[in-house]
Symmetry: C2
Subunit: 197 residues, 2 copies
C-alpha cells in the first residue's frame, strides 16, 4: 500500500555510493518532508549536469566545453603533463600553486579486483595525449596507495617505452611532521629517497 | 577552473541528510562517471515524486491521491487509530498482520531541542482526525525513545481530555529474547507492566 512513486524514489537513491535501503528511505523522507526546495534543486542539478557535462578532450576532466579552460589556456606550460586519479586530486595540485603545467585525469585507477584494467581506464587515450609532441615530461601524481602505485608503475612503463621522461611525486615525511609520529614505512621511504644537500 | 555545473551538483547533493562536502563530491563523480543511467533515473524520480506525492488528508502519510487507498478502504476498522512517527513505522505495523485499524503518521516527533513542538508537528490535525466521531481508541505506537515517549505522553494528554480512549504499545522482553541478554531497563519495565495470567 506504500505509494509506488515513493518506492521508486527510494530505489533510485540507492544508485548513490554507500547508500543502502535504510539510508535511501531516510533520504527520501527527508527530501519530501523537510527539504522540497533542496530536492527540486538536486533534481535540476542532476539533470543539468548530465546534459551539460562531458569530458575535456585533452585532460579528460569534467568540462562544459570540448576543451576545458585550463587546457586551452596559453598561460600553461605545455611541456609538463601531470597525471592524477580524480578531479579532487587535480584541485589539490592546483591549491599548491607550485605547478603550472597541464593535467590528465584518469577518472579512476587500475583495480584488477574490480575489473578495471588498462583498457577500462582508457590508458590508450593518456598515451595519445602524452605523445602529442609538446609534452616533454609526465609527472605521475596518482595516490600512494597500492592501487595508485600500481597505476603509476604501469603508466610509467607505457610512457618510457615511447621515449617520454616520467617522474613521480616524492614520498617522505610530511611538512611539519614529527618523526615520532610518522609511520615507519614513510620514514623508510624518506631514507631511501633522501635528497643530497 | 572547476566547472560550475559540477560544483552546483556537489552543493545540491548536500541537501541529503548525512552527506558532507567529501561524500557529495564522491557521489557526484560516481554519478557522472560510473552511473549516468542511475543519475538520470534519480533526477526523474525526484522531480516526479515532488510533483505527484502529497499527504493523505486523513492519515498524513505520503499519497498520490487526496485520500490514500488504506484510509479509503471499507475493510479497515475505523474505530481504531494508530499513531506512528514515520511511514516506515506504519510499514512495520502492517507487517505484523495483527492490526486492521487506521493510522495517523506524525511525520516526526516532538523534539524541543530541534524546535519541533506540538504546533510544528501539527498535533491539531491529529486531534481533528481523532475526534471525527468514528474513532473510539487511539493506539500510540511512537518509538520507545525519549522523544517518542514524550510525544506519546503529550498526545495522550491532548486526546484524553477530549474523551478518547488512549493506549500505548506495551514494553517488555522481545519475543525470543533471553533475560541474560536483555538490558535491565527493559526487564524492569516488563516487571512493572507484567500481565496477569
Amino acid at each position: 500500500m506504500s505509494p509506488s512513486t515513493l518506492d521508486e524514489l527510494i530505489d533510485a537513491l540507492r544508485c548513490l555510493p554507500g547508500v543502502g535501503p535504510r539510508s535511501a528511505q531516510r533520504m527520501a523522507y527527508h527530501l519530501l518532508q523537510r527539504d522540497q526546495r533542496g530536492a527540486a534543486r538536486l533534481a535540476h542539478a542532476l539533470a543539468y549536469a548530465l546534459d551539460v557535462l562531458r569530458h575535456c578532450e585533452r585532460c579528460n576532466n569534467f568540462s562544459e566545453t570540448d576543451v576545458c579552460a585550463r587546457c586551452a589556456s596559453p598561460q600553461r606550460d605545455r611541456s609538463l603533463l601531470c597525471v592524477v586519479e580524480m578531479p579532487a586530486d587535480l584541485a589539490m595540485m592546483e591549491q599548491t600553486h607550485a605547478y603550472n603545467g597541464l593535467y590528465y585525469v584518469l577518472m579512476g585507477r587500475l583495480s584488477p579486483l574490480d575489473g578495471i584494467g588498462p583498457r577500462e581506464l582508457g590508458l590508450d587515450r593518456l598515451i595519445a595525449r602524452a605523445t602529442d609532441g609538446e609534452v616533454g615530461e609526465v609527472i605521475l601524481a596518482t595516490n600512494f596507495t597500492n592501487e595508485g602505485e600500481a597505476t603509476a608503475h604501469t603508466v610509467a612503463e607505457l610512457l618510457r617505452t615511447r621515449g617520454l621522461r616520467v617522474s613521480r611525486l616524492s614520498r617522505g615525511v610530511p611538512v611539519g611532521g614529527e618523526l615520532e609520529h610518522t609511520d615507519s614505512g614513510t620514514i623508510a621511504q624518506a631514507l631511501v629517497e633522501r635528497r643530497a644537500l
